[in-house]
């Protein structure tokens, strides 16, 4: 009997235990409404329309060097000082006690400049006076002139002491100044002269000049950029190894792509009045599978020589060289079809490959450029067979299953496709790099090849609806999942044979997407 009472009490208590109130609701959320087209690329001449088809107009300047890139004058300080060897008493007011010239060498490695003009830059002057009367500093830079007027700086510096000399600093712009670096005899290079004149204050007292007093000036040439240079520009080769990644190409993880015959040219233009050697040592790409492919052509490997430009300021005519790559002289098509995301180029550019043959008469002007331009026009037609683009996104969504949460979801994609590409979509949900759930779309995003011509715009289009159902199991594991991989396999399938064939992209092609998310939610207030 006691047992029965206990059982009844336990039963009553258990029946009082409240489970959560819950019910299910259905929602539809608008996500994406977008049209993906190639129209944005027309403006920068990436794509051009030709006879109703699209061509890739790949004209890109891959190298553009100017005078500032070729000849750089480092920040340089020149200084000149005076110190008497003995004590001079009774130095009268207005007495000129220094008048000295000094030549300075600019360290420019193997570059030997005779004349330059400064586009912009400045000089920072610093003078010191240890004498107990004011001193008139006169600093001349004989080779530095503006409109044929030499650079002269005068300043009266207040009296100072040996322990605390009076100091003055001043910054002066050198824009437009010409500098003759050929020295006093006009036969040298990289030479800069300065002349220092010191005079006591005409209205000051009579003073004594001691042998431990040092009068000094410093001139710092700072951030000097040239717009003209003449001399010998050296022969130091610029050896470069450049790497760059093509967007989206690294997302291709499978399948193949066949492209129509194509041609590419590289134009090298030398706007400097100096001889030039250029060499493309190697051009290699590596795709997402790690397969590398090198471009081979007669012009890859050997050195090519460009003559100096001719003319002067207004009549400058660069010398040019045109390299052509096509199916006859290169493996360009295979190179592109390797779908290499990682591009490596090794090249050398060397001025004056035969040394100072111009006898120091290399010249560069403000508008002198060394340019390398790539030009290719490729019909945008392709043959894709399961060409798979795959991208991984971090997944950082958590939900508490004891509170209101999403049970299941369905991604609904309504698409209008004017591209001749069909696509199969798959989502992989990952935890710690391992695939936990694979979700496959219920249908293929159909190719325009299966559609009909729309009389409003004359485009071949196909509408399709693709649904991707995310089952409850995905949401149960959602807190543990950390990445989602979106995989899209593209094919240019022939509607009749079912085989991948060459398909041209029609001008104005687009993919209109309308994505909605249908949610089944468990409400637990």
């Amino acid at each position: 009997m006691r047992l029965l009472k206990l059982f009844i009490i336990v039963l009553l208590l258990a029946s009082c235990k409240k489970e959560g109130t819950q019910w299910q609701t259905q929602w539809l959320l608008p996500l994406v409404n977008d049209t993906l087209s190639l129209a944005n690329y027309y403006n920068d001449s990436t794509l051009i329309q030709n006879a109703g088809q699209i061509e890739v107009n790949l004209t890109r300047q891959v190298l553009d060097l100017g005078l500032a890139d070729l000849i750089k004058i480092p920040d340089t300080t020149i200084s000149q000082s005076f110190q008497s060897n003995f004590t001079v008493n009774n130095v009268t007011p207005g007495f000129e006690f220094v008048n000295a010239t000094k030549t300075h060498n600019l360290d420019l490695s193997d570059i030997q400049l005779k004349k330059v003009r400064i586009q912009n830059g400045q000089i920072l002057l610093k003078i010191k006076n240890p004498l107990n009367t004011a001193v008139l500093f006169k600093i001349e830079l004989p080779g530095v002139s503006l409109n044929n007027q030499p650079f002269v700086y005068t300043y009266t510096l207040a009296p100072g002491t040996i322990q605390q000399p009076t100091i003055n600093t001043e910054t002066i712009s050198l824009a437009g100044y010409e500098i003759d670096l050929s020295g006093a005899q006009s036969l040298e290079y990289n030479k800069l002269q300065s002349k220092l004149t010191l005079q006591t204050d005409p209205n000051g007292p009579t003073v004594s000049l001691f042998n431990n007093q040092i009068f000094e000036f410093e001139a710092l040439f700072k951030e000097i950029h040239l717009d003209y240079a003449k001399g010998y520009f050296g022969s130091q080769a610029m050896i470069a190894n450049k790497q760059f990644t093509l967007p989206f190409m690294d997302k291709i993880v499978g399948g193949s792509l066949a492209l129509p015959p194509m041609q590419m040219s590289i134009e090298i233009s030398n706007g400097f009045k100096m001889a030039l050697r250029a060499q493309i040592e190697q051009l290699t790409n590596t795709n997402a599978q790690g397969v590398s492919y090198s471009l081979s052509a007669p012009s890859i490997g050997p050195s090519m020589y460009l003559a100096p430009a001719i003319g002067t300021w207004n009549t400058l005519q660069p010398s040019t060289m045109l390299l052509t790559f096509d199916g006859n002289n290169s493996n360009l098509q295979n190179y592109v079809e390797n779908l290499g995301a990682q591009q490596d180029i090794h090249y050398q550019i060397q001025p004056n490959p035969w040394g100072n043959t111009s006898a120091g008469n290399d010249e560069a002007f403000a508008h002198s450029r060394l340019k390398v331009k790539v030009n290719a026009q490729i019909p945008l037609a392709l043959n894709a067979d399961g060409l798979t683009l795959q991208d991984t996104f971090d997944l950082n969504i958590t939900q508490d299953l004891n509170k209101s949460h999403v049970n299941a979801a369905k991604l609904i994609i309504d698409a209008t496709n004017a591209f001749p590409l069909a696509s199969d979509l798959v989502l992989y949900f990952l935890k710690n790099g391992q695939v936990w759930h694979t979700v496959i779309a219920d249908a293929q995003l159909a190719s325009a090849a299966l559609g009909q011509i729309d009389p409003t715009d004359g485009l071949l289009k196909k509408k399709s609806t693709v649904q991707i159902s995310l089952p409850q199991s995905v949401f149960i594991d959602l807190n543990d999942l950390d990445q989602v991989v979106v995989s899209a396999a593209f094919s240019t399938t022939d509607p009749n044979s079912g085989l991948a064939i060459d398909q041209a992209i029609q001008a104005g092609a687009f993919l209109a997407l309308q994505m909605k998310l249908q949610l089944q939610t468990q409400i637990k207030p």
């Binding site: 489970e19 608008p30 996500l31 309308q514």
Partner: protein, 388 residues
């Protein structure tokens, strides 16, 4: 609360003299359209299936009510009289003490709001949903009272000190929801406010008045009426959260580039900004959910075996409609009287009510339900009275 109740019982038993204790516990919930399975799931837990939701939805009108009223109190009419001379007006009055607690929740809602909440937006693609009027009022409080009662008429008046434990009031003046069936774009137009009181911070005063009146004849079968006013007062809530929405929001599909640069929490804030969401802390006075009942009292010593009873009750809340009832009272046995009748209003529509009164010497037990049949809810009132 329970300890105080037992102390009252104990004290009532040991004191000598004319005194009584009334204990009442009651709980009602009802709706004009929602089937009972839905509120039951909220009270007892469980899954609300789509059949119950569909059934409720079909029976709802454009405007509907749901409400919950529960509570209990103890009144001790003490033997102590006022220290006045016998010829004074209040000389016969006894000191009376009470303690009680009550929960009131009332909801006035539209059929569309119910559908959106319990079904979601998907079934209503292409339809414009009118979510207003939506009014939710919820107040829970406890009270301790002191007053006077007349032992000969049973009239009484008590002044209660009230502590509000919870107060929530929300109102949507204007709210429409439209979702385009092609683009799934959601258009939401909202104008509403809500106040959420902090717990245990509201204090106030309220009056309970029980006034009995009737014919002055000395007939045994005289008609007696009761005017019962409870919780007539106000409380001050010094600090509570106040929210306001007044704006229009469009939730539409966006370009892919927009999603690439957007975070979900930013989207939530953007929606709130679009709806003109404002939040502030403020103080306010609230009126207590006062109840006013005017009823014919049952003659517990009737000459006739059957007598009529009727009454009407109002509650000082917008979500509560006037409640009227009427029925027949039957004296089945000397210790058992019962009654059946019909009730209408409050939170629900027409339904049947019934009660029984059991009397044993100076003790009386009343069991009553206002939801016997025709109901969308449940109701139970237990009243125990002991005179000694």
């Amino acid at each position: 609360m329970y300890r105080i109740f037992f102390i009252f019982l104990f004290v009532g038993n040991v004191l000598l003299g004319q005194q009584s204790i009334d204990l009442q516990l009651m709980g009602h919930y009802n709706s004009t359209g929602i089937v009972r399975q839905i509120p039951d799931a909220f009270f007892y837990g469980g899954t609300i299936d789509s059949a119950a939701i569909d059934k409720s939805y079909e029976s709802l009108k454009q405007r509907n009510n749901f409400g919950l009223l529960m509570g209990g109190y103890v009144i001790w009419k003490s033997p102590w009289k006022l220290p006045l001379a016998k010829d004074k007006l209040l000389a016969e009055y006894q000191w009376t003490f009470s303690i009680g607690a009550q929960q009131y929740t009332g909801l006035h809602f539209s059929k569309d709001a119910f559908g959106l909440l319990f079904k979601g937006g998907l079934p209503y693609l292409g339809d414009t949903l009118q979510l207003n009027p939506l009014l939710l009022e919820s107040t829970s409080f406890s009270k301790v009272g002191i007053g006077l009662s007349n032992p000969s008429t049973a009239s009484s008046i008590l002044l209660n000190f009230v502590q509000v434990q919870n107060h929530f009031a929300a109102r949507l003046n204007q709210a429409t929801w439209f979702q385009d069936d092609q683009t799934a774009q959601i258009s939401l137009d909202l104008d509403g406010t809500s106040n959420l009181g902090s717990p245990s911070l509201g204090f106030g005063l309220a009056l309970d008045i029980d006034y009995r009146f009737g014919t002055d004849t000395e007939e045994v079968d005289e008609q007696e009426f009761q005017l019962l006013v409870q919780n007539l007062g106000a409380a001050y809530i010094p600090s509570h959260q106040s929210y306001a929405l007044n704006g229009t929001m469009q939730l539409s599909a966006m370009p892919i580039s927009w999603w690439q640069n957007k975070k979900l929490d930013e989207l939530g804030q953007q929606i709130l900004d679009s709806l003109g969401f404002e939040k502030k802390v403020q103080s306010s006075w609230i009126l207590m959910p006062a109840s006013i009942l005017l009823a014919k009292r049952i003659n517990e010593e009737p000459i006739k075996k059957i007598q009529a009873y009727y009454g009407a009750q109002m509650l000082l809340r917008q979500s509560y409609t006037p409640f009227v009832y009427a029925g027949a009272h039957i004296k089945a046995k000397q210790f058992w009287q019962t009654g059946v009748g019909l009730a209408y209003g409050g939170f629900g529509g027409l339904r049947a009510q019934a009660y029984s009164i059991l009397k044993f010497n100076n003790k009386q037990l009343i069991l009553r339900s206002d939801n016997i049949t025709l109901h969308n809810g449940a109701s139970l009132l237990i009243q125990f009275r002991c005179e000694f």
